[in-house]
Structure formats: structure tokens, C-alpha cells
Symmetry: C2
Subunit: 269 residues, 2 copies
Amino acid sequence: VASDDLRDHGDPGDAPSIPPPLVPPSDTTRPSAAEEARTIAASTNSGTLATLTAAGDPWASFVTYGLLGGAPVLCVSNLAEHGRNLIGDPRASIGIVAAATDSDPLANSRITLAGVAEKPTGDERAAARQAHLDAVPAAKYYVDYSDFTLWVLRVYRVRWVGGYGRMDSATGVDYAAAEPDPVQPIAAGAITHLNADHAESLVQMAKTLGGYPDTVAATCTGADRYGLDLKITTERGVAYPRINYGERLDSPDQLRSATVELTRRARQV
Amino acid sequence: VASDDLRDHGDPGDAPSIPPPLVPPSDTTRPSAAEEARTIAASTNSGTLATLTAAGDPWASFVTYGLLGGAPVLCVSNLAEHGRNLIGDPRASIGIVAAATDSDPLANSRITLAGVAEKPTGDERAAARQAHLDAVPAAKYYVDYSDFTLWVLRVYRVRWVGGYGRMDSATGVDYAAAEPDPVQPIAAGAITHLNADHAESLVQMAKTLGGYPDTVAATCTGADRYGLDLKITTERGVAYPRINYGERLDSPDQLRSATVELTRRARQV
């Protein structure tokens, strides 16, 4: 992932280093940048919009949104600065931040969806209105005010940053074609359960499937439709192996049996 | 507050209405927009930056920041899109969202600080570097990387939105001169305590000091150096009175005695 981003940072030499695996890990497939972006967009209903003022200055402002096939649907007042900005120049992008999983803000995931805002018409307008209301129930109080306008952000370009050193770009076409991860809505609860009740299984996974036979402690930091992200301690330092189920999950119901199967496989090796 | 923003929304007639006070409330001073903005900026260490791409498109991206006299200090890689953007055109704004106090995203507070990013030099660079490190401890791992640049956002214009119908603008000069609210860091705990243990006192405050003698239930929704925000139920509907201490607090230590004194005054009237 993101080989184009692993550029030289001019490291002054005092950053922590990550020990490599001692054995090649079996399968390290992760969601694509387009999938990550769809998942993050679907995980919340607010972000920060960047628009252009009449002077061409960049203007950052908080907005709520719904999603129509991945395209953010905004409902903003023409009296508000961002509403006036979109009328003047429809170029826009939206920054969306996933719920924090780490106390270091830059370790968390975020995306930028960039493109052009358009006023939907006809059937698409009705679908956009409903998509916004589904995501932002309080919008029922103002969605039909005459000064509010629905805008669909046509996404031309996507940037995903998954934390330190995990980042990549995607086209608007790839973004539109990708699915939000079906496991994401229950991932936080599953991670808590794995860490609370199955710490020894996580260590075993890191040892036998993750390429780190010298693992001494492991916590799960992420779960998606393809596998688990672990943060482990080895005698050589802290590392972040990936443990995959071996099959793509299509529903949150499958997560429990997939992790049970991983535990079984990890013990068999 | 914000009389210039109380414009006609073309109300279709089905939004909830707020009953007016039956008695003029005693003192409804609130923090200024500049004070609100300084307080929100000081309450967190991350926001979304709006910059301009080479094509002049608006680009929204997550950033961490420290504060130098209220000016956000960024530390961004020149390899990242926002870093390249700032080098190409230093115009920028940052959107900052306060921690949520309401499940409706648009009921929460947020600001935009707009201006021009500059690379600090000499003593200011050292102070800016320290301000960033104080706010973002993990920056110690990359602040001295050769591809990272410190930027101070010179704030020329401020927009504050405190929720529905509470919004105002401030100049960069007013923003720089304002203080972050000293009560903010302990406000959430104090509000929880007032609601859990002093609900009857809050009702009494709304009745005798807030202008709503028909109050039947009250919860505290905000606390700052000037007073408390309440959400109350009356037989006429839900209202949001302001209850002030009568003096400006200059330290968080003073909040407890100020609310005790409010309770005493509310019972005496």
C-alpha cells in the first residue's frame, strides 16, 4: 500500500524503528484506499468543507452530510458563508475524520473527498434529500427552508490517510465503485472483546500467522472485512502485523466465526 | 449576540418555537465571539485546514496544531498535499470543532480562523516549535525532520458558530486580544455535577433569575466565566435561559463558589 508515499523524511535518527517480521506473513491484504475512504465516509455524518470565498481564499467550515452512492449530500443555508461560496464557485472538498482509536490524533484515519458541488434535480434531488435526512435527522427542521440548498459533492479525487505511513490516493470512479466495510459498525466492540478476553489468542496469531514468532504481547487495534490489525511487543520492539481471515466477509455476522477460525488456525500451525 | 445573523430563514412553519421569558432576566452577558473562538481553539489540538491546490481548488485536510497567542502553529510535511499547497499559496483557514455536548452535530460549537500562513523565524520560530510540541507531544518524532515545516497562521478573520442561531464574526485583532475561558477545562465536570446533584437549584435559578417563573425542569448545558446556560422545560415549551454569576471568573477555582452563590441568590429572590 502507498509505495509512492514511502518517501525519505530526512529522518534525524531518533524516531522509533519497527522490527521486520522474522517469517514472511501469510496474507496481508488490506482494504484499498477507495474502500477505506468509503468506510470512513459512511462512519459519521459530519466533516469540514473547504470552499472558496469571493476573493478565492480557502474557507474551512463544519458541515453535516448524508451519502448518495458515496457522494456527500450537503444541506446548507445560502445565508451562511459556505453556502454563498458554493453558489459563487462550486469547487469544494470535504475532510472527514474517523472516530479516534488512538490518543495521538495523527495516528487516526481521515480522508479528503475533492470535486465539484452540484444541485441535484428531479429524482436525484428526492434521493439526495432523503439521504441527508437519513444521516442527519435534525435536518427535518430546516431542509425545506427556502434559504437552504441541497448540494451533491461529485467526488473526482480521494485522499486517504490511515495514520503514520499509511496513505494512498484513489480516483472518484474507484471511490464510487467501492463498498463501505460491512464490519466497521461492530469493529470497536469486537476489538474490545478480543483484547479483554482473547489476548493469548492474539499473541498466538502474531507468532504463527503474523510473522513474529518472538511476540510477547499483542493487542488488536483494527478489524475490517479482510482481517485484523495488531500492535505487538517483541523483544526487538513494537510492530504492527496484519492477520487476515483468508476470505472476505460480507456481513458483520461473519466476524465472530472468522476470528474463532483465526484462533484455531493460529494454534494449529 | 449576532443580531446580523438573525435573518429570515423562510420558515415553512413547522420548526419548534421558543417561549419568551415572562420576566426580564437580570444579566445575560455571554462571552464574545472572539472569546468563544479563543476558548474553542484552546480546547483541542486538531482541526481541518483549508488550503489551495496548484489549480486553485479548495483542499480540506486534517491537521494538528499548537497555539501561539491564539495563532495556530502547524507542523506539516512538504511531501503532503497541504504542505505543498501552503508553499504555493499561503492563504489558509482552519475549521475547529469543540467537543460535542449534543447528539445533534449542528448544535455544537465550531469556528473558522482564516488568514495567511507564515514561516516563523528567530525567537518566534523557537516559541512556535515549543507551542506545537506542548500541544502535540508526538510531534517530537518528526518536528525536526527536514521535510517538515512550521507555519503560523496569522488570523485575519474569525467566524464562530455556537449552535443553532448563535453565531458571530470577530476580527483577527479582537481574537488575538481575547482570552480563552479559564473555566472551560473543568466545565464538563461541573455541568455533570450540577445536573446530578443540584437539579432543584437549577430550576430555582431559571424561575427567579432567568425570567421563566413557569419552569418545571432544568438542566445545565454550558458553563463559562460569566455564567451558566440552561435548557428548561416550561408549560409553554422548551427554552434556553442564561444565568450569570454577576462577576467575571478568572480561575477555575472560582466556579464552585460562584454556583453556590447563584443558588443562594436564586432562593432569596
